[in-house]
């Protein structure tokens, strides 16, 4: 057959596409479990990062089990949910999407509790939008459920050198010591302030130059996601006061 005839061209293209599709599908299925394990370990590393524990991926699982004593699932009313849902397995994106489909009251939120020297730290997963794609992270609150202990952020594809800077230590360590409630007990979250936050500002950190949309995304993400947990925190406080 003439290799330049239309028939052969079509035949060649079809066979080639099928062969490579099969090849790639097989590879994706075979390597899937390894990749899933990596994602899980990375999540553990990120959670540990928010309480200032740096870990290599090899030891992440061990450290995670050592530090994170309790994993809590709370619903939007602030009640603990105990029917077999693992906090670690909750996909925050799916839970947030529930609000769009009218299932807002069925939302479940994971909370990780870190216990050190009889004081508790609450690690809240946060998720929002950057400029190019999702941004997410973990913010750890001290036992008073007000003071930020630490934070770690990550992103899918923010601009390197600009928005992507949110996962650097310089940006993350600014959050330590900030407060999410003001003096009157009103929830104000922590804002990322363009042009730099005043040093005495308890609710603001410096934004990233050139990364305004990502910075605003961080502000929005913190305000919205931390708010999900307020009912639960209130209920703990009430119990503590009784």
């Amino acid at each position: 057959m003439d290799k330049n005839s239309s028939r052969f061209t079509f035949l060649f293209a079809s066979v080639m596409v099928v062969v490579f599709a099969v090849l790639l599908a097989v590879a994706a299925i075979a390597l899937g479990p390894f990749q899933a394990q990596n994602v899980k370990l990375e999540k553990m590393q990120n959670i540990l990062g928010s309480i200032g524990v740096q870990s290599e991926s090899k030891e992440a699982e061990k450290l995670f089990n050592q530090y994170i004593k309790e994993q809590v699932v709370v619903n939007s009313k602030g009640e603990k949910v105990t029917d077999g849902v693992q906090a670690f397995d909750i996909d925050l994106k799916k839970e947030m999407d529930k609000a769009k489909t009218g299932d807002g009251d069925k939302q479940l939120f994971p909370l990780f509790v870190f216990n050190k020297d009889s004081s508790y730290y609450y690690i809240i997963p946060v998720r929002g939008k950057g400029l190019w794609g999702p941004i997410w992270g973990y913010i750890a609150l001290k036992g008073d459920m007000n003071t930020v202990f630490g934070a770690s952020f990550d992103h899918k594809g923010e601009t390197p050198g600009l928005g992507a800077e949110i996962n650097t230590d310089e940006f993350e360590k600014q959050f330590a010591g900030k407060k999410v409630f003001d003096k009157t007990g009103k929830f104000v979250s922590v804002k990322v302030v363009k042009g730099g936050a005043a040093p005495e500002d308890l609710h603001g950190v410096d934004a990233i130059s050139g990364g305004t949309i990502t910075s605003n995304g961080v502000t929005e993400m913190l305000k919205r996601t931390i708010a999900y947990y307020i009912p639960y925190f209130k209920s703990i406080e009430k119990r503590a006061n009784q």
Binding site: K3, F20, L23, L24, A27, A28, Q35, E42, S57
Partner: protein, 226 residues
């Protein structure tokens, strides 16, 4: 991509030659110096700027490019006589893209942290001019084995420059090599600072420029007649 077709016209020898004959060895060694893809052909510069902040990702990137150039050359060369002319670029793209996706998946499964650092640049090997350039200029007109060597050689030539540039940038930018600190604390205490520009992309361009300068001044073949 088009400029290099003139640099190396495909040479096909009739008689059977050994696997590593002088001619074949030249295919491997030429891209290291005389026809280096980065410093002589000036291809693949974008990724060379982006991934050379540290040595580890550079080495992984170099190996990835080597696998892609080698195997895409091999496969295209093996089927070069049945590829319909009209869709030859598409066929090349499909093969290159598939190999790149495979490499990316393997990296994600086994060296996840490096794969995150390289992020989009592994995917962008598809558009790396070296790959398509070698397919068009060499693999379409040569037998599989020499094509494979040519691919590996060009990957090596690319990798060599990447490793040199990243070693210089990591040493001056972070005081480390392969992630291990080499500049002693003593220096820092005496007021030594890491060079901030070394970790930014412009420094890669400057170093590549200096490498081209050094290479041209030493390699007489590259000196253009006045």
């Amino acid at each position: 991509m088009s400029t290099e077709a003139t640099i190396q016209s495909p040479v096909v020898k009739k008689q059977k030659e050994s696997l590593l004959s002088p001619h074949n060895k030249k295919l491997l060694s030429d891209p290291l110096n005389d026809s280096n893809p980065i410093t002589v052909q000036v291809l693949g510069i974008c990724s060379a700027l982006a991934v050379t902040v540290q040595m580890k990702p550079s080495i992984v990137m170099a190996l990835s490019v080597m696998v892609v150039t080698g195997f895409s050359n091999l496969m295209i060369s093996a089927i070069r006589n049945i590829i319909p002319d009209r869709i030859r670029i598409i066929v090349q793209l499909v093969i290159v893209a598939s190999i790149v996706i495979l490499v990316d998946q393997v990296l994600k499964a086994f060296v996840y942290d490096v794969s995150k650092q390289l992020s989009v640049f592994v995917g962008l090997i598809i558009t790396n001019c070296i790959v398509m350039g070698r397919l068009e200029a060499f693999a379409m007109g040569n037998k599989p084995w020499p094509s494979f060597l040519d691919g590996i050689g060009n990957g090596l030539g690319y990798g060599l420059i990447l490793v040199i540039v990243s070693a210089i940038r990591e040493l001056f930018g972070s005081g480390r090599l392969m992630g291990f600190q080499v500049v002693p604390d003593f220096f820092y205490e005496r007021g030594y600072f890491n060079n901030g520009i070394a970790i930014l992309p412009p420094m890669a361009l400057i170093i590549v420029g200096i490498l081209i300068w050094i290479q041209r001044s030493r390699n007489t073949k590259l000196i253009e007649p006045e």
